[in-house]
């Protein structure tokens, strides 16, 4: 019998060439007694191996360990026999990682000396002098717990190694065990290991030469081969060590931070007290018995699963946000519960939506509750620092995300390692259309200049497919915090993240879920900032204080839903995109739950699973829905028989296919990561057979599986969609009742959302809101709402001007006299603005009232001499006579602020003779359906969504509105130059108006009219 105790997976980044799952399953297949996953100064791969063993119940024991190198002369592997040893290993890894920059580590002699529990395997080299030194050292400090690792790699040094080992064995009487220091699970992974090695050394595989692995011996080798290579007693010694290692990851229990619970309370009591306080606040007294029953049921379930601490930790974070007036919004499966509503974690009034109770915490699936809390994206950092200060850097850290090779990075890295020219790789990667269903990327290589019959190209294709999905490095999760009672490094090693004073644990969110550890997600949402800024402006002028709960409390407002159905949703949350605007008039959402469906349905998942049309047909024409069985009806009747949400698919699997809770959870996990390792297909026959023997029709089962496949990666959970629907409704409400404040709030929290400031300003102007340009005497850094003849208007702020700094401008505003500056020189004398800042303001025409036109002002500013004391006198010799005309003004506006308040490019040029047959955007509504129209506009967005078969959508903007243009692939290909390069485009095509009034123009002839205003730089969002 044998146990391989030194084995590196691909979590030793760019060294190991196999997944932890592959290593463990091969070791079990070969009949090893145990396998130790020992990545270099990391335990990142251990949990995946543990999950694989638990999932397939493999007959092998997993030993946790890690490999270290001390000062380039001592190579050691540490193994964990028991839990204290594991805590000790985590502490050593944490210290080693925290001493050096991200990605490296530095072991100190003291770390090893302080070992009390771990077992040590020493891998000696061939230099007698170093071996004697370290031999004495180990003998003196760690004699009872260290072994010598002997490996026979058939690389020509075996004889020297064996001689050294025998010498050490006699002089220091240390036991010897056999190991092959595995780097991959099977010998045909050698080319992959060579390529990873070449990528790590940033050279080509051929140039690695002698430093590369000469053979494929560092793999998991069959027992008979091992018996031939190693003496029997060394093999047995490995099993002796393995039997001493009893630690299993399941022993890791999660102790919650105790200080949230005030003295004298138990967790249950304190939670109940907070909930009771919440009930008074939310319901103003005793709620209806039904609600009270739900609350009691939830509380008992929480205490049964011991999740009280989890809810109280989030409650504490949320209270902090309330104190600091940071707008927040809880979402996720556990968020849709009455308890959370009472704890003010969510703002969704349970009476409004039928609380999806059984989705709250499903006992038999023992899936940990998942609550994400979104905060304003500008103030999220305050929340993070609060958590760090409250629990201390020792007890909290961010979860990790494993950054792995995507197709583009893998293609370029492997290409370089095989010796391809870099510019050629760039060119090919940029021109491969990954979404092209018809032609897989391999066959596209041929017409991009790579002859597929050449050996090197075949190798490139093979290796790229192997390496996609391999981890490259650890990065920090966007917001997942792990908080524990004791020091975190007892639980999992912590290392430095790229950002300063940020620390990351070595496990990602899937690992945490596997071990049932909990994480609190602190995420950022731009829309929350915009809503809070809008509230601030509204509350200044009105006495009542607006809040999200207040607005949702008012119930569904008919006028707001009319606005939504008219697709007048520019700037609103989630339903502002072009695709949404196309669907809103068709789906006509009238109440909150319609919004929840609307947000979830216009996404690649449902579209690929072609669920949109059946839902549309049933909703518009009230088609009757026949459900194959009562249980299916209970699950699907709220979405008219069409599975849209992830939860519905899981419920169907449990109800229709007889999946157990655990299997359903694995299906959910497989759906989330289908792209990476294709586990979903394993469930195919399980699901279909389950349904068949429950009597469902085979085509129903197959359509359901296709819908699941379409879902993977994109399917949207209902709980998240419900929370987003709240924000979407609140932003629509604000846009309807307080438009000016809403636009100002949006513009002040830019960059966010789908539209550029220029498009937002256009939309405001189309709603007859006056927009006043930037002015040195009237503007502040932020955009403001001002009253012009007691009409609300928007005054643009200095933040719009490119190249000016907030600090200097705020100082200038603070020092500005009430009557404002009288001349440019007075501004210059304040000595607050740098030279280029003043010229930028001049070009943005901020000095409009003070001096001549912007050219003159900028020309005078450039005059360096007049500032010198000698030339103090103000000789304004009027030699300069240039003045900008309308077009030049427009160009200057776009150059300095990216938008123009006075004119629109199309407004200036559409009077010219060659455009007399043009119809403007606002007049399209009157044009007859299917008639030929000529439209002219600036191209502001080009979109080729993967779902549409070869169709590209253009958005043309003129001074009266936006028009959506549909361009078929053939039209695009024939008029490629106009389609790709034009900023101002004339489109002659056929107008198509859907019965609900949604207008599209099917493009026929595209003519590029950019040269009319060639300096105009309209920024278009292309192919995002």
């Amino acid at each position: 019998m044998f146990a391989e105790l030194v084995c590196q997976t691909n979590f030793s980044f760019l060294t190991g060439a196999s997944e932890p799952e592959e290593m463990v399953s091969t070791a079990a297949f070969l009949g090893y007694q145990a396998l130790a996953i020992t990545d270099e100064c990391s335990v990142a791969g251990v949990v995946r191996a543990y999950a694989e063993i638990r999932r397939n119940s493999l007959p092998i024991k997993l030993v946790v360990g890690s490999r270290f190198k001390l000062a380039d002369s001592l190579e050691v592997v540490l193994l964990c026999p028991d839990k204290p040893a594991y805590a000790e290993l985590c502490r050593i890894i944490t210290n080693a990682r925290r001493r050096s920059a991200k990605g490296e580590y530095q072991l100190a002699e003291w770390d090893l000396k302080s070992i009390r529990h771990c077992l040590i395997i020493w891998l000696p080299g061939t230099c007698r002098q170093t071996n004697t030194h370290w031999g004495q050292w180990l003998h003196r400090f760690l004699s009872s717990r260290s072994w010598i690792g002997a490996s026979r790699l058939l690389d020509g040094l075996d004889e020297q190694r064996f001689a050294e080992i025998q010498f050490l064995e006699q002089t220091f009487s240390m036991p010897v065990m056999a190991t092959s220091q595995a780097l991959f699970h099977h010998s045909d992974r050698l080319p992959v290991q060579h390529v990873l090695h070449a990528i790590r050394c940033n050279t080509t595989v051929a140039e690695l030469g002698l430093s590369s692995q000469a053979n494929a011996e560092r793999t998991l080798r069959p027992l008979n081969k091992l018996n031939k290579l190693y003496p029997r007693k060394w093999l047995e010694q490995s099993t002796v060590i393995a039997s001493r290692c009893q630690f299993c990851l399941s022993q890791l229990k999660y102790q919650y931070p105790a200080e949230i619970i005030p003295a004298g309370y138990s967790a249950r009591q304190f939670l109940r007290e907070c909930v009771e306080a919440g009930i008074l606040k939310r319901f103003g007294g005793e709620p209806e018995p039904a609600i009270r029953a739900i609350i009691e049921k939830e509380l008992s379930l929480i205490s049964e699963q011991h999740y009280e601490y989890f809810f109280l930790t989030i409650y504490d974070v949320v209270q902090f946000a309330r104190r600091q007036h940071i707008l927040y919004q809880g979402r996720g499966s556990a968020a849709n519960s009455v308890v959370c509503y009472c704890l003010e974690i969510t703002a969704v009034d349970p009476r409004q939506i039928n609380v999806l109770f059984e989705r709250f915490i499903s006992k038999e699936r023992d899936e940990p509750p998942d609550i994400d809390v979104d905060f304003e994206h500008e103030r999220r950092e305050e929340v993070i620092q609060y958590i760090y200060n409250k629990y201390g850097r020792e007890r909290t850290a961010l979860a990790a995300t494993v950054i792995s090779f995507r197709f583009k990075s893998a293609f370029k890295a492997v290409g370089k390692a095989l010796g391809f020219a870099e510019s050629q790789l760039d060119y090919i990667v940029k021109n491969i259309n990954r979404r092209d269903k018809v032609m897989p990327w391999k066959s596209q290589l041929a017409d991009l200049g790579l002859d597929p019959t050449v050996l090197k190209v075949k190798q490139l294709v093979y290796l790229v497919e192997q390496i996609v999905g391999f981890p490259r490095h650890l990065s920090q999760h966007v917001g997942g915090f792990v908080i524990s009672a004791g020091p975190l490094y007892e639980l999992v090693p912590v290392e430095n993240a790229a950002m300063a004073e940020r620390t990351v644990i070595q496990w990602d969110k899937d690992d945490l879920e596997t071990l049932g550890l909990l994480k609190v997600d602190v995420l950022a949402l731009g829309m929350l900032t915009a809503i809070r800024k809008t509230f601030d402006i509204v509350n200044q002028h009105m006495d009542s204080t607006l809040s999200i709960a207040h607005i949702t409390g008012l119930g569904d407002d008919r006028q707001v839903y009319d606005m939504i159905c008219a697709a007048d949703t520019v700037g609103v949350f989630q339903i502002e995109s072009r695709a949404q605007m196309g669907m809103l008039p068709r789906l006509k959402p009238r109440k909150y739950y319609d919004l929840v469906v609307q947000i979830a349905i216009v996404r690649p998942g449902p579209i690929q699973g072609d669920m949109v049309h059946p839902y549309l047909k049933r909703r518009q024409h009230g088609e009757t829905v026949n459900y194959p069985s009562a249980e299916v009806e209970k699950v699907l009747e709220r979405t008219m028989g069409v599975p849209i949400f992830q939860e519905q698919v899981i419920q169907l699997a449990m109800v229709a296919a007889g999946f157990t809770g655990g299997e359903a959870d694995q299906l959910r996990r497989a759906m989330a990561s289908w792209k990476k390792n294709g586990r979903l297909n394993l469930f195919k026959e399980k699901l279909v057979n389950g349904m068949l023997d429950k009597g469902y029709a085979p085509e129903f089962a197959n359509t359901l599986f296709d819908q699941i496949k379409g879902f993977s990666g994109y399917g949207f959970p209902e709980s998240h969609s419900a929370s987003f629907a709240v924000l979407a409704y609140v932003s629509c409400w604000l846009k309807f009742y307080f438009p000016v404040e809403f636009y100002v709030g949006l513009l002040n929290s830019w960059p966010m959302g789908f539209y550029t400031p220029s498009q937002l300003v256009q939309d405001a102007q189309q709603h007859d809101i006056a927009v006043l340009p930037v002015c040195i005497n009237a503007s502040t850094w932020d955009h403001q709402m001002v009253f012009v003849e007691h009409q609300k208007a928007i005054r643009l702020g200095f933040r719009l001007v490119k190249g000016v700094s907030e600090l200097n401008l705020n100082k200038l505003v603070s020092v500005r006299p009430a009557t404002g500056f009288s001349s440019v020189d007075e501004v210059k004398k304040q000595q607050l603005l740098r030279h280029n800042e003043i010229s930028a303001l001049a070009s943005a025409d901020a000095f409009k009232g003070l001096a001549g036109n912007r050219f003159q002002v900028r020309w005078n500013i450039m005059d360096g001499q007049s500032e010198l004391p000698l030339f103090g006198q103000d000789t304004q010799t009027e030699l300069f006579s240039l003045a900008p005309d309308n077009t030049e003004n427009l160009i200057e506006d776009y150059a300095s602020t990216g938008l123009s308040v006075s004119h629109h490019p199309i407004e200036l040029i559409y009077q010219q003779p060659q455009f007399r047959r043009i119809t403007l955007a606002k007049d399209l509504k009157q044009a007859p359906n299917q008639s030929v129209v000529h439209i002219l506009g600036c191209v502001t967005c080009r979109q080729a969504p993967g779902t549409a078969s070869g169709v590209t959508f253009l958005t043309l903007e003129d001074h009266t509105g936006n028009t959506n243009v549909v361009v078929w692939q053939s039209t695009a290909r024939h008029q490629q130059q106009a389609f790709l390069k034009a900023t101002i485009l004339q489109v002659d095509g056929i107008l198509e108006r859907s019965p609900e009034g949604v207008i599209h123009v099917i493009a026929g002839k595209l003519t590029d009219c950019t040269d009319i205003l060639e300096q105009l730089r309209v920024s278009a969002r292309d192919f995002h």
Partner: protein, 229 residues
């Protein structure tokens, strides 16, 4: 020996064959092996033509590690017509700087001799190694004269299977492999007596002993080592 002849023996002009070793005129250089030094009467001659007859591959080159080692003036070491290509890794083992080594492959024997002569006369080399199986006395004479005149050694390697012919040499050796080392027979040594069958303990390649020791069941492993021809 009667005492009347004693003063004769001290006379510098008189030389007796038996005590030839001490006033030996040729300078000698240490070979790194005590037994060989005594057999050679002090070591390798500093200059002149030296023939080493042996089978190719018994360690005849590695034996000369110290002899080839002394190159403090960074002169050239020239290999002419070796049986294959010389590898740098072996030169590093022999502590010879590969930058000072030149390898000449000639198309014919005469060219090899011409090259050897050129190297000897060029004052640029400190030692010349020549592989040649059919050298005539006249050619050997030319090399002998050139190497003694320019005070450097020319080592001639001759395959043992070739019929031996007497040549005007400073030193003529026969090398044979025996278990655990080599057996050197000195057939001719100017200024000293030829000796036969000097045994040397000489091991210059790694073995698998440590592995066999560790694998206590050596029988199974020895089977692995016997291979068919």
């Amino acid at each position: 020996m009667t005492n009347s002849t004693l003063p004769l023996t001290q006379h510098p002009g008189v030389w007796r064959a038996s005590e030839g070793r001490h006033q030996d005129t040729t300078q000698r250089q240490d070979t790194g092996f005590a037994a060989l030094n005594t057999a050679l009467g002090g070591g390798f001659p500093a200059s002149g033509l030296i023939r080493l007859r042996s089978l190719c591959g018994v360690g005849e080159l590695s034996l000369l590690k110290t002899v080839l080692g002394q190159n403090n003036s960074e002169k050239l070491l020239v290999f002419i017509n070796p049986p294959g290509q010389i590898h740098q890794a072996w030169l590093h083992q022999m502590a010879i700087n590969p930058a000072n080594v030149t390898v000449v492959h000639c198309r014919s024997g005469d060219e090899a001799l011409w090259a050897a002569e050129q190297c000897l006369k060029s004052e640029a080399c400190y030692q010349v190694l020549l592989w040649h199986d059919a050298i005539t006395t006249k050619q050997a004479r030319r090399l002998q004269v050139a190497s003694t005149q320019h005070r450097l050694r020319c080592l001639l390697f001759e395959n043992k299977r070739v019929q031996r012919i007497a040549l005007p040499l400073t030193l003529d050796l026969d090398i044979q492999a025996v278990t655990g080392g080599l057996q050197i027979d000195i057939t001719k040594n100017r200024g000293a007596w030829p000796t036969s069958a000097t045994q040397l303990m000489f091991c210059y390649t790694p073995t698998n002993q440590a592995i066999y020791r560790a694998m206590d069941n050596t029988s199974a492993l020895h089977a692995l080592s016997h291979i068919a021809g």
